[in-house]
Symmetry: C2
Subunit: 233 residues, 2 copies
């Protein structure tokens, strides 16, 4: 019996990356999920990531501490900046500097050690509108970089990249993502998307992330399992 | 008086990156130096980096903890693998997985926060022979990625990359580097290149890094200020 191919999955505890993990499992990969502790306002998402990894059969789940928060510059890691509750034009202040570049780099390091050739990330078209490091061109550039950066990439025959950055949600709407995830066995009740959940891990229902998520369940025609805080209407 | 442009400098405490910092200062940049604590066998190089940063007038020096060591896979972070004392063919076992990708990513994050447009890294032609992430093609790919990954890159006019990855040592021999560094005011006595210095921070004189360094001083016709352990002949 041949061993399954290994994949590293960036897992945040949110809806998108949980779906990605389920899709990677569905494709037959042995999944190694990776989360980061980087000074987030809420450690609750790390608990969610661990529960999601266990429920979807990840071989191993790791939480890697990163000191991105010390660099400041984001509402998600800097308590001096308010999380916005209304949609804003341009790049949101919740943007963490170079976040996906850093996350993919760490995933690449682990992939190289594991001899995994596939890295999965849950970027999608909705994020694309605001975050520069969620765009397809960014993902392609990182794949090119990955194959220049590593032993396995160097040893690969020309035109056949050894390492693949897989972003299966890239062209999907939130509703599509939720439908695919339900079909692949995701329990979205385990996930947290809210930027500012309360102490009981209940969602605010008002931040950008909550709005997109709630709308996604409605459009998918799937019952929303999110626990909202009472005030969230 | 216009403020000087800011640059982030990857600084290891070794000979090459100290030279890079001096060259960046010489070019008029306000320098923000960045070192990583990533499970190295010796913390001595971090002390060296701090001394080098101070001696060359860095505006700020930061040490960022990274848990790359937990991933294993390198003689520099894994005590189970012996550091080689003879030159080996191919990629050396002292290679740390995806190291320069990770380091440049963190530098990019800090650069974005600082609004710096220049990142300096001390890769050179000698390393090029063995490490995939020291090659010019890798540096070019990272620059391309950086401009796709960040606000400042997104906002830049087409064909004019906002972020530059500068590798001024790329085409220089070790002797050239040493001559340039001496001219730019580097005190190489502060730097440590050895993979396995003793408790008094004295170099072994036998590892790959020591051999290249010692040969560089000889070829440059510069007195070698390195403190070698007595047994190193």
């Amino acid at each position: 019996m041949a061993a399954a191919a290994k994949a590293v999955i960036l897992l945040s505890g949110g809806l998108d990356s949980a779906t990605v993990l389920a899709l990677a499992r569905q494709q037959g990969f042995d999944c190694y999920s990776l989360s980061f502790s980087y000074g987030q306002r809420h450690a609750l998402e790390l608990d969610a990531a661990a529960r999601v990894a266990a429920s979807l059969g990840a071989v191993e789940h790791r939480v890697m501490p990163l000191s991105l928060g010390a660099l400041g510059g984001s509402a998600l890691t800097d308590f001096g900046i308010d999380v916005p509750e209304a949609p804003a034009a341009g790049i949101p202040v919740t943007y963490v500097p170079a976040r996906n570049t850093v996350f993919l780099s760490m995933a690449l390091a682990w992939a190289e050690v594991l001899e995994a050739h596939d890295i999965f990330i849950g970027v999608n078209a909705v994020d694309y509108s605001g975050y520069p490091d969620c765009r397809p061109a960014f993902i392609e550039a990182f794949e090119q970089l990955a194959n220049l950066a590593t032993r396995v990439g160097v040893d690969a025959p020309p035109g056949q990249p050894a390492l693949r950055i897989r972003a299966p949600l890239q062209q999907m709407s939130k509703a599509d993502i939720i439908r695919a995830g339900v079909a692949a066995g995701v329990d979205y009740g385990l996930t947290i998307s809210c930027y500012q959940p309360d102490a009981q891990a209940r969602a605010c229902g008002r931040c950008d992330s909550c709005r997109l998520r709630r709308q996604g369940f409605a459009e998918a025609g799937v019952a929303d399992p999110t626990r909202y805080a009472p005030a969230s209407g």
